[in-house]
């Protein structure tokens, strides 16, 4: 049997690993892209600068001076307001302006410079957009950048095309300083990296600049192809690492854990061929190995414990069964063949507590006219008390059948019990002998609860006499005889301390007052009915609390004398 896992470790591990890998990938790609982009732009700017510088050296400065002067001569004549800029490319005004410079393209100097630039143009740099010569004209109210020669094959900027000169441009141009490349994005020209380098004639005079435009789109295309290949590589590697990691986790952690879990689930089943932890020994020095070792140890410990428990339980059951037999023997010793006679009605009952106890009652005919009544309670509980009860009961019965008064009988029984009593147990006992023909009751009390007596027509009352110590407590005790003349219909109620000392859950005791009250509500019921009622009342009183002591009661009605 395998337990179903709603959120398996495998899925969790996969989610975490994939998420972390994704984050790692994105960060790596972003950082690479930014870094690459910056380096790339820097490289292309340098390339543009170099190219411009080389071109500027290659160009014939004298020829370019001639071209420049020709362009400036025409441009200077155009009034401020009539200057048309490259923004109006293709318009009539634009074309008209260009037309004024058309003659320059036929000049041999123009052609020379054009050829020189064209050679560089065709040198084979893929990102090169255009290469051209310009100069800055300061004859008007604002400076203009004027195109001199453009080597572009498509839509070249013919001489006379004018643009606003950026401030930095013309300041650097005037100072004859090298100029920094810059990136522009104008509708007319597109996204470009532009680098410039000064051109000088044979006398070293500044005659203009060579500009090199590199196409940013081509550069960026280069960049994105790099990022795409980087991403693809990273993702592929990450996927492979994820899969390998998951396989390792599955083999090293999840499979062993599932195995241990399955064994644990099947462990309690009584199936003989169930798998055991010890069959699944893992020689590993990691935490899983420790867990496996711990489970094997637990399995062995539980096994030993169960074996131990089984034998202890068996022993306990045996003892319990034997105690049950003891209790049964004890209960069977109490007579239940109640006399069926006209002169006496008698009934007795005992409800034992959970444990074997020491209460007992007895009644037997000494001869046809005398019946002995016994109510007794051995101190303590359990097997010792039960054994002592058997001895006491036997001794009482033997001695009572011989001549003498109850007090004399108790003297003898007491001394016999005392003779060999190291355990210090004792028995409280009430012994009475009733002469059935006359109703004379002679009794003696050895530390037992006072019996209750009801004279016909009156109430139950306790026979409070001079109680002497219980049997077996001390040697040579002189017991007293108590003589009572019963009248027809008089009732005697005998009991052990289980009745008055019964405890309710609040800790209150039943007490003799309550017992007498119950008796006095039942003057005329039969002994059996009386005892059933009394037992029920005692149990009701105890309620939830365990019946702690034996409860033993006897009811006698003398009906003789008529």
């Amino acid at each position: 049997m395998s337990t179903k896992t709603r959120f398996p470790l495998k899925i969790k591990a996969a989610i975490i690993i994939i998420a972390l890998s994704a984050v790692l990938c994105v960060v790596a790609i972003l950082m690479s892209a930014i870094r690459f982009s910056r380096t790339n732009e820097e490289n292309f700017k340098n390339q543009a600068s170099d190219l411009a510088y080389v071109a500027a050296l290659t160009v014939d400065g004298d020829a370019m001076k001639v071209v420049r002067d020709a362009v400036f001569e025409v441009f200077d004549k155009i009034p401020d307001d009539d200057v048309v800029l490259s923004d109006d490319w293709g318009s009539d005004a634009f074309n008209a302006q260009i037309e004024k410079f058309a003659f320059i393209t036929d000049m041999p100097e123009f052609k020379k410079v054009y050829e020189q630039l064209s050679k560089t143009q065709t040198a084979g740099i893929s990102t090169l957009a255009s290469i051209y010569a310009t100069d800055y004209d300061f004859s008007h109210s604002i400076p203009y950048a004027l195109y001199l020669v453009d080597a572009a094959e498509e839509d070249p900027c013919l001489p006379g095309v004018a643009d606003h000169a950026d401030e930095a441009d013309w300041e650097s141009a005037e100072k004859h300083e090298p100029m920094k490349p810059y990136i522009t994005n104008y509708d007319a020209y597109g996204w470009l990296v532009t680098a410039t380098a000064g051109v000088y004639d044979s006398s070293g005079e500044y005659v203009g600049v060579i500009c090199v435009d590199l196409d940013m789109n081509a550069i960026k295309a280069n960049e994105s192809s790099f990022i795409i290949s980087l991403t693809a590589t990273l993702v592929a590697i990450t996927i492979v690492i994820c899969i390998i990691t998951l396989i390792i986790i599955d083999l090293a952690v999840i499979k062993p854990l599932n195995k241990l879990s399955d064994i644990a689930v099947g462990y309690i089943s009584n199936n003989e061929d169930r798998k055991k932890f010890s069959d699944f020994k893992m020689r590993r020095r990691d935490e899983i190995g420790n867990l496996s070792g711990a489970m094997i140890k637990m399995e062995n410990d539980i096994g030993n414990y169960i074996d131990n428990l089984t034998s202890v339980t068996a022993e306990k059951e045996r003892i319990s069964a034997e105690l049950g037999v003891a209790a049964k023997i004890q209960a069977d010793m109490l007579p239940t063949d109640f006399p069926d006679r006209k002169d006496i009605e008698l009934y007795a009952a005992m409800t034992p507590a959970k444990e074997v106890g020491g209460d007992f009652y007895d009644f037997f005919f000494i001869d046809d006219d005398h019946i002995a009544l016994v109510m007794a309670d051995v101190s303590g509980k359990g097997v010792p008390a039960a054994m002592f009860m058997i001895i006491a009961k036997t001794l009482i019965k033997i001695r009572t059948t011989a001549p003498g008064t109850p007090a004399q009988m108790l003297w003898d029984i007491n001394n016999t019990l005392c003779a060999d009593n190291p355990s210090g147990l004792f028995v409280t006992a009430w012994l009475g002998i009733l002469t059935l023909s006359t109703g004379e009751l002679i009794s003696s009390n050895a530390g037992h609860e006072y019996p209750a007596l009801m004279h016909e027509g009156g109430d139950y009352e306790l026979i409070v006499g001079e109680n002497m110590p219980p049997l077996a407590a001390a040697e040579n005790i002189e017991y007293f005889d108590e003589k009572i003349e019963l009248k027809t219909g008089d009732r005697l109620f005998l009991y052990t301390d289980g009745v008055p000392e019964g405890k309710n859950p609040d800790g209150e005791r039943f007490g003799t007052d309550k017992m007498l009250k119950i008796l006095n509500h039942r003057h005329n019921v039969s002994p059996k009915e009386l005892l059933d009622d009394m037992m029920r009342k005692v149990n009701e009183f105890a309620g939830e609390s365990d019946q702690f002591d034996d409860v033993t009661i006897m009811s006698v009605i003398w009906k003789g004398g008529k």
Partner: protein, 98 residues
């Protein structure tokens, strides 16, 4: 139960408190048996004792038997309820009740 012993170990005062029955008497008896050696005067103070069952009486009787061989045992401050138990069980004649 609480008890105290004088420094010379000869006098021992035992105060029995609450109810004593077969549930707690074994523990009390075991404790007393550990301490009883050498004691010549043992006093049971029953001022706080509310109830004593036959098991408790047996314990008192055992202590009394033991003390007879080595000294004297006396029971003091017996209240009405416990005295009634002593009367019914005849223990008034067994114990030295002061």
């Amino acid at each position: 139960m609480e008890f105290e012993k004088t420094n010379d170990g000869k006098t021992m005062n035992i105060e029995l408190i609450g109810e004593i029955d077969s549930m707690n008497v074994t523990e009390i008896e075991e404790k007393l048996l550990k301490e009883v050696e050498g004691v010549t005067d043992m006093t049971f103070d029953l001022k706080e004792l509310e109830y004593i069952s036959s098991a408790g009486l047996r314990m008192l009787l055992q202590m009394q038997k033991m003390m007879k061989t080595q000294g004297n045992m006396v029971v003091i401050n017996t209240n009405e309820e416990v005295m009634e138990i002593f009367k019914v069980t005849g223990f008034v004649r067994l114990l030295n009740i002061a």
